[in-house]
Amino acid sequence: MAVVSAPLLAFDDVRLSFAGVIAVDGISFEVKEGELFAIIGPNGAGKTSIFNCLNGVYRPQEGSIVLDGTSLLAMKPDKIAGLGVARMFQNIELFSNLTTLDNILLGRNLHMRAGILSAAMYAGKAKREETVHRRRAEEIIDFLEIAQYRKSLVGMLPYGIQKRVELGRALAMDPRLLLLDEPVAGMNLEETEDMARFILDIQEELKITMILVEHDMGLVMDIADRVMVIDFGRKIAEGTPHEIQTNPDVIRAYLGEEFVGLEIEHSEASEGGRL
């Protein structure tokens, strides 16, 4: 467990609806600096909508989202990215006609400043920047062990590697808050274990605060510091993984009324079982 301190993100009473369909219904939570915070819930519960609000892709009608004293509401996605919010998407959203290296360098784009004239001459700032940021990109490539795919077009890479490149692209932004939207969806056990290791390394070595949305309960219960459960856009429970596993409301949402009160074996939930 990482050392946790002041809240980095305060998500307060946020409401988001689309023409009558309520996606996020007054959810509040706080994420502390250095924490690995997980959000779980059945399909359509509003997990990705929360991420889209955080990124500025959706604009909630009510509530407030504050990152380290700055309100993220009414801010454009690229400005929010500039404040240090990075995201790994649920369905791979890589720039598929570019190489792994170019994808990761695109994560560095918001730290680069060269203008069009400098770029056209490839002199001065543009040239210096390429080398400086290439170094950082290579560090991330090493960290994620994808050096052999450096010059491959990402569209041609296997699924698990594409996911890793996407993580790398988000890491290249040097974010303060990293949003992981189902990082191990569709992965086999080995790939899942690799990803879990990377996530823990990010927390411990890079000290990046993370919000994890995931259906793989084994992974969530193993690595998350705190878990929030949502259903139909509402918050059901929040607490440590152990508290969540024994919470009757959570069991009701996932398994149905008849399972409430039955003792669920802790081992069963943490052995990679999907609730």
């Binding site: 720039f95 598929s96 006609n97 570019l98 170019d102 918001l110 920047e129 390429e130 080398t131 290579e138």
Partner: protein, 369 residues
């Protein structure tokens, strides 16, 4: 790095435009051959190839916005027109009816580009709200708007049926558009235009190559491939789309300003939809998102009519005088259409794709991959 040309020990050399000595040497040799060819090429071929060089600049511009940034523009003819008239106004002579500043060629070419870029940047904010087909239609509207303005603005364009001369190719008293003498050797007007166009193409092509390998080119590609993801990663979509349009228009402006110096006359109805389509075709046939492909596409389609003309004597079904099935201009249009369809279906990466495949085959030879 003699002996191990593929081993790079520095990031600079790994991301260099021409990483190996072989590539640098061949490019230099190629350029020298192209430049030297002007000495023995006949006048009409010089003019044709010079036109291909200038068209290449325009196609590179269209490729930057459409191939790299993914914003389909059918309005390229409009920006070519803007460049042509800006060049004519800055570089042409003033008469009692026409505006002209009589500037040097090194001034009026970039100025023509700048005027087009400013107009491109001014229009782009409207265009960035749309994408795909809708954007294509909006940019198509530009062409009609442009045609009207070019017809009506007599003091700059000369008006329909009258037209005007393009900018004068003058540099510090020297005239590129007149036969002259350099260091005792006679040089023709055509040779000078050919070399001038080649120099402009080299500068513009290298600049484009640099743009696409820098952060800006990567951001263009990100906007093209996944715009939402790009935005979430801190890429301001509006800013980069406006930039793409402005840079593309700059290239169109430069190309437009020179395009008619070879014929010596700008006609107000030259900048029509057909010209836009011809440029789109050059991008498709050359290869989208490729600078080399842009040059290949422009050269191929510019030389095509001439090649078909040459085939007139060989192909039996071609009409030579009044007999035969088809006239050469009919065949030209058929071939043009067939090429677009053929490339879209069989080689979407264009001539550059074919070239890459040949290159990779020989790189791996005798193995298949």
């Amino acid at each position: 790095m003699r002996g191990r040309p593929a081993l790079f020990t520095r990031y600079e050399s790994d991301s260099a435009m021409l990483p190996t000595t072989t590539q640098r040497v061949w490019l230099l040799v190629g350029l020298l051959v192209v430049a030297g060819a002007a000495v023995w090429l006949p006048r009409d071929w010089l003019i044709l190839i010079a036109t291909a060089f200038i068209a290449s600049v325009g196609v590179i511009g269209l490729n930057l916005v459409t191939g790299y940034a993914g914003q389909v523009s059918l309005g390229h003819a409009f920006f070519l027109g803007v460049g042509a008239y800006a060049g004519a106004a800055f570089g042409g002579e003033a008469t009692d009816k026409l505006v002209g500043f009589g500037l040097d060629v090194v001034l009026w070419i970039p100025l023509a580009g700048l005027v087009a870029a400013v107009i491109g940047a001014a229009i782009a904010p409207i265009a960035v709200r749309l994408r795909g087909l809708y954007l294509a239609f909006l940019t198509l509207g530009l062409v009609f708007l442009g045609e009207h303005v070019f017809r009506e603005w007599d003091s700059v364009t000369g008006g329909p049926g009258i037209g005007r001369k393009p900018g004068v190719l003058r540099l510090a008293g020297w005239r590129f558009d007149l036969d002259g003498e350099i260091a005792g050797y006679a040089v023709t007007r055509e040779q000078q235009i050919y070399w001038l166009a080649l120099i402009v193409l080299i500068i513009m092509a290298f600049a484009a190559k640099n743009i696409v390998r820098s952060r800006i080119g990567r951001a263009f590609a990100a906007v093209r491939d996944r715009d939402i993801a790009a935005e979430v990663m801190g890429i301001d979509l509006t800013r980069y789309k406006v930039l793409a349009f402005a840079v593309s228009s700059f290239y169109a402006g430069v190309a437009g300003s020179l395009l008619f110096t070879v014929t010596g006359f700008v006609n107000t109805n030259s900048f029509n939809l057909l010209l836009s389509f011809a440029y789109i075709a050059m991008v498709v046939i050359g290869g989208a998102a490729s600078i080399t492909g842009s040059i290949m596409g422009a050269t191929f389609l510019t030389l095509l009519p001439r090649l078909i003309d040459g085939a007139g004597g060989v192909l039996p079904f071609l009409k030579v005088s009044s007999q035969g099935l088809l006239s050469t201009s009919q065949l030209e249009r058929i071939v043009f259409g067939a090429l677009i369809i053929g490339f879209l279906i069989f080689e979407p990466r264009g001539l550059n794709g074919i070239w890459m495949r040949i290159r990779n085959y020989w790189k791996a030879w005798p193995f298949s991959y």
